[in-house]
């Protein structure tokens, strides 16, 4: 094992870690955005009256939340190779040939399932009376959604969505297993070349900085967006989580949705 504060290690391999970080950020940003776009229709299907879309959506969500992400990634990455002729005939082989796109594909579908559950919970949290009141005012369906449901639902969804983003950053390390040279992949490569264990600790610091930064930014955004709901700033009870009160079940269930 090398020294714990061996800076020559970073001098020699720092640019590799940075290159890996760039890939990680790309994968996470693309997957999360696609997942966010997909999540809304999935949540709506899940709440539909028609049992066919409801069941389809339930199966989708159950599958992607109930199986390990690594297994899903293998299914896409290795499975695509098995049906290569079929994919070629569809003109999609260039997409599945590359580990990067396979990861984006698997992560997007996976996070869409998690985000759909968040969106559904948020939509359901808007009280029925709000919608009825808006309808009584003669607002159209679109306007009810746009001006009454979404603003309230988004606030409820904000925190769990932030947790989901953090959890996707953490899950993106799996990309390294299918040979993508993201931050984790570069780390493994450097370790394989130098047998210097400290590189894992540097990678840990970078991941930690990323997740901590997002948590911090997210808290600021949330404080800003919910400022109308607070009578006055109360930093103590926010930090401790209001001692003596039971945490709401949603808070517990979304505390950490690792794959």
């Amino acid at each position: 094992m090398g020294g714990w504060l061996d800076l020559s290690m970073i001098e020699a391999n720092g640019w590799r870690l940075l290159a890996g970080l760039e890939i990680t950020v790309e994968v996470v940003a693309i997957s999360c955005s696609i997942g966010f776009v997909l999540s809304y229709p999935i949540a709506l299907m899940r709440m539909a009256r028609n049992p066919v879309p409801r069941t389809l959506s339930l199966c989708y969500v159950t599958f992607f939340r109930g199986t390990p992400l690594l297994c899903q990634l293998y299914l896409v990455y290795y499975g695509a190779g098995e049906i290569r002729p079929f994919l070629t005939s569809l003109g999609l082989w260039w997409f599945f040939r590359q580990a990067f796109y396979c990861c984006v594909f698997a992560f997007s579908l996976n996070t869409a399932a998690y985000q759909a559950e968040i969106v559904r919970g948020a939509l359901l949290s808007v009280s029925r009376g709000q919608i009825e009141a808006a309808q009584a005012l003669g607002l159209s369906r679109y306007r009810v959604a746009r001006h009454v449901v979404f603003p309230q639902a988004l606030l409820v969804a904000l925190r769990p969505l932030g947790n989901e983003l953090i959890s996707i950053i953490k899950a993106s390390a799996l990309a390294a297993i299918v040979t993508l040279l993201d931050l984790m992949g570069q780390t493994r490569l450097i370790f394989a070349r130098t047998f210097d264990f400290s590189i894992y600790l540097y990678a840990a610091l970078i991941y930690l900085a990323m997740t901590a930064l997002i948590a911090r930014v997210w808290n600021l955004v949330e404080r800003r967006l919910t400022r109308h709901l607070r009578k006055r700033a109360d930093p103590v009870s926010r930090a401790v989580g209001a001692p003596g009160t039971a945490p709401s079940p949603t808070e517990l269930s979304t505390a950490s949705q690792a794959r």
């Binding site: 390990p68 297994c71 297993i177 901590a212 003596g244 945490p247």
Partner: protein, 233 residues
């Protein structure tokens, strides 16, 4: 070869997959008690008056909640091996020490579970009203007996949903151990698909087994929750 024969035929890969599934469950079952127990200890440390304990505990949970589970597992797995080798080189020089991959894997999973579950325990400890402590104290119970007889039985009910969540995370996280040297369900599926060139079939079958475990866990969780809440309507 047809899919059914590959899975269930006399020379099929079904038994290997089932054996892997057994190891997956064992791995999860072996890690859960240590992880949940250590998480509770961390939570108690966090709520103890000592600033040093609280700092150490916060550092531990922040680190392992903030980095990828895969990285945590690597760090604990390789770090543990390195530490044991270092100790071995001091105690009995010249002898290499290798740790059983299953044990090392279970220990590293426990570390991750401990970090995740400590937050659930903290919330549960906060949820027990203060006067419960005071009443136990008034009855003349010492700190340990008050905790064991009064607080602990009430914790379970509140912590159950959160712990159930972490259990499903743990169940899925066992798949990461397949990248080390444990022949769990996912590794069995990898071996089968490499030999037969049928990854869709075998990863699909593995996914179905994981799904089965998740659904059964979910069912058991709601039964346990109903039982724990039966006095609370």
């Amino acid at each position: 070869m047809p899919a059914l024969e590959l899975l269930f035929g006399t020379n099929g890969w079904g038994p290997l997959l089932l054996k892997g599934a057994g190891i997956t469950i064992l791995l999860a079952l072996a890690s859960a008690p240590f992880g949940f127990g250590a998480g509770l200890l961390l939570a108690l440390m966090n709520l103890s008056g000592s600033r040093v304990l609280r700092g150490a505990c916060t550092a531990f949970t922040t680190l392992f909640r903030g980095i990828p589970d895969l990285l945590s597992l690597f760090i604990v797995y390789f770090g543990l091996q390195a530490a044991l080798n270092w100790i071995a080189s001091r105690v009995a020089p010249g002898q290499a020490f290798t740790m059983d991959a299953f044990v090392a894997g279970a220990l590293s999973l426990s570390v991750v579970v401990a970090a995740y579950s400590s937050e659930v325990w903290v919330a549960a400890l906060h949820a027990v009203p203060r006067h419960q402590h005071e009443a136990a104290h008034a009855l003349g119970l010492g700190r340990w007996r008050a905790f064991r007889l009064v607080i602990l039985p009430q914790l379970g009910r509140v912590a159950l949903p959160g712990l159930g969540n972490i259990w499903t995370i743990l169940l899925k996280d066992t798949s990461l151990i397949s990248t080390l040297a444990v022949s769990d369900l996912l590794r069995a599926a990898s071996e089968a698909s490499r030999s037969t060139q049928r990854p869709m079939l075998f990863y699909g079958a593995a996914a179905m087994i994981y799904l089965f475990f998740s659904i059964v866990s979910g069912g058991m969780q709601s039964v346990l929750e109903r039982r724990a809440n039966r006095g609370y309507a």
